[in-house]
Symmetry: C2
Amino acid sequence: MAETPRPDEDDLMLAELPAGEGARPDDRIDDERMDEENTLKPGYIRAIQDGLDAGDKQAVYELVEPLHPADIADLLELLSRDERHELAAAITDLMSSEVVAELNDYVREDMMESLPAASVALIAEQLDTDDAVQLIEDLDEDDQQAILAELDAEDRIAIETALGYPEETAGRLMSRDFVAVPEHMTVGQLIDFLRDGHELPEDFFEIFVVDAGHHPVGTCQLSWILRTPRAIALGDVMKRDQTLIPAMLDQEEVALMFQKYGLISAAVIDDSGRLVGQMTVDDVVHIISEEAGEDTLLLSGAGEGDINEPIRDAYSARVRWLVANLGTALVASLIIAAFGAAIEQLVALAVLMPIVASIGGNAGTQTMAVTVRAIATNQLTRSNTRRILWREMRVGMLNGATIALLVGAATAVIFGPTLGVVIALAMVINVFVAGMAGVLVPVAFERLDQDPAVASSVFVTMITDSMGFFAFLGLAVLSGIAG
Amino acid sequence: MAETPRPDEDDLMLAELPAGEGARPDDRIDDERMDEENTLKPGYIRAIQDGLDAGDKQAVYELVEPLHPADIADLLELLSRDERHELAAAITDLMSSEVVAELNDYVREDMMESLPAASVALIAEQLDTDDAVQLIEDLDEDDQQAILAELDAEDRIAIETALGYPEETAGRLMSRDFVAVPEHMTVGQLIDFLRDGHELPEDFFEIFVVDAGHHPVGTCQLSWILRTPRAIALGDVMKRDQTLIPAMLDQEEVALMFQKYGLISAAVIDDSGRLVGQMTVDDVVHIISEEAGEDTLLLSGAGEGDINEPIRDAYSARVRWLVANLGTALVASLIIAAFGAAIEQLVALAVLMPIVASIGGNAGTQTMAVTVRAIATNQLTRSNTRRILWREMRVGMLNGATIALLVGAATAVIFGPTLGVVIALAMVINVFVAGMAGVLVPVAFERLDQDPAVASSVFVTMITDSMGFFAFLGLAVLSGIAG
């Protein structure tokens, strides 16, 4: 195991310093501006807001100047819309392309729309193609054209090519900037070639080895090259088996590949197998957290659910699901209405029925969340669906029995044994059904090539509500205590 | 913009191949075994299951042999517990440390428990410390000791040091294997040093430059070194401003730092600022998706929510929240009970009341999900809480008004205008309150240093249920149509 302190490290331990001495504070965690969670302190933000209110651009500039671009982006997001534009005006030469690239999509879009096409084009030219594409892909057609017109031919073509790929595919997200060399090149020739200072990517993590037709034949991690003598040919250093990403592959699948194979970067190929770009993990991490976080929001029916989303968008995204939920609630109401007579006769039914429905809904949501995550991470496939369904049915039975005992006993004491038995049975049935629905509904959507996170909740809730009211009121009538 | 095809690339375009020719299928997406989502095909799995049933180890071995270790891990996870152990026995020499490292925690734990300590120790010795730690940290104390006893001193010390740090901290997760060299070293000396073939990490992405006390003073991306002449000192190549990760930092914060600053690897320092390890992005991507996915499960009250979690664990994790939910449902029932007379008099109230509660609950969940995500991604801080609250209150008013109109009109038609007005008002109130609760409850938990994803749902649901029944039934009584 290569884990223990290595000789070369020990050699460096020239002098043992007493603990505490010589500790270096990290510039990225500085205590005046950042808290321990590495977010900007409220006091610091307030100082900037005061500066903006006072119109003291100089003071504001000095406050913001030491920040990392990613933190300037955070700062802009934390401010209100108006403050944002004031700040941008106050720190124009700090508004680097890195800052723009780090901005939340909605905030970036809003800020770009307020700029003339020429200025946006100027920013786009500073950015890597993938960031430049992000910058303009959300703008409306006219703005896009206006900006593209301002760009020089090379950049325009690069961006237009990227925009030619569907959104959220590798082709749209990849960087067109990578190092590709022929197999016969030696390590020494490669190093000389790199030192010759050709126009290279700022950072790169692997060297792609390609054939005459520009098809990838292998890849070399930079660390392998650094440890290999000059005379060796790349063909003898490279790994031939590499993960190639089709340009049309969806970003979610790209992210799963990077996770599964622990990739740092990977070659993107067009449908003729030619190397056309690379994806690097620093872009993929954003996709991973986006895709994983998305489910939380979709399951709740909150759409994009970004706090920077314009209110009208948030409204239309959410009200849609509330209306859908209204439909499911209506079904439940109809079932209750059918038992109106029983309720009139025994109002305890009206008092207790929400408990059965609510617990069932909760149990269904639990199973649904587990199922949706398992599908999203490719853990749940056709191969193990039956096993997982059976697993959830057993969990459902255990949960149902436990809750039924509690509710049944309490109800029996307060409203008498019959109603106690009725609610206990209804609870077992509903929690069990909830467990099945929690698996089957998302799986069904997946099989229909629908995103299981989007509409599963509505259906699961409808099933658990209706079943809850129906089982409880129905059993009450059967038991003869009402209706 | 450095994006356009570069001369060195063009030079390689010796011959343009007609599209389609020479395309190389990726070994990782092979069509017999993997589907387009890069998961193992059910038919392939079935073939392996048949082989296991038939006891034909040879056939099984040949089927599995071509798989990437990560895919063998997936395969094991897709099989049932018994099949897993049969398969492991059939492919012993394919069960490499990479496979074990890629296994789901629960599956790994289960498989390790069935092995003698000596064999687990043998596997641990193959693994990097961070993976070895993962392997044994979940085992119970005795097994851990038994395995540690089997390890040679070096490995044991490394693992025990790691276990000395709290779970989910950088110190526990970091790799102790990195390259650190002194500032005065030149690029040439470094390359020679690396070529001397000291025991080096298999892959590394940056060189840490340290002082005599082993404190980081700067960092060099390998790509910078490759393009720099031999004579230049590392001190002139390195970036002095680097992100240093305190060994005690929680993994969630580590993940956010990697995302925010687009890191590939970063130095981990102890509390005396000394370089003690490094974290690389390939480990962090797992944390990112884990942390982001976690919220989906926690919000639903499904605990860990892993489909490989033992049933008893899943049961105890979930039933806890169902019981809590029982408490909140009880509160709602008490409110209904208080209006028993009104319901007896006008059963329509019992029919309609679940609608008010259910829509309110749904609206609350939407806002809550948005808030929890925003807190988890450091987008929502004390600096903008008030602004976001106001935003959600406005969305709540819009949603409430819309639904109120629909429900009110329909109710007015069926049950008369008074009840229509009553339910419309109740709906506006409840959806508005839901919006406020959806922000304030998670924020309150965050301020109390509790994970907002864990208990927010229960409280938000309680508020929306109770408020829904109370507003609707209360207004009905006030309106004089019942009670």
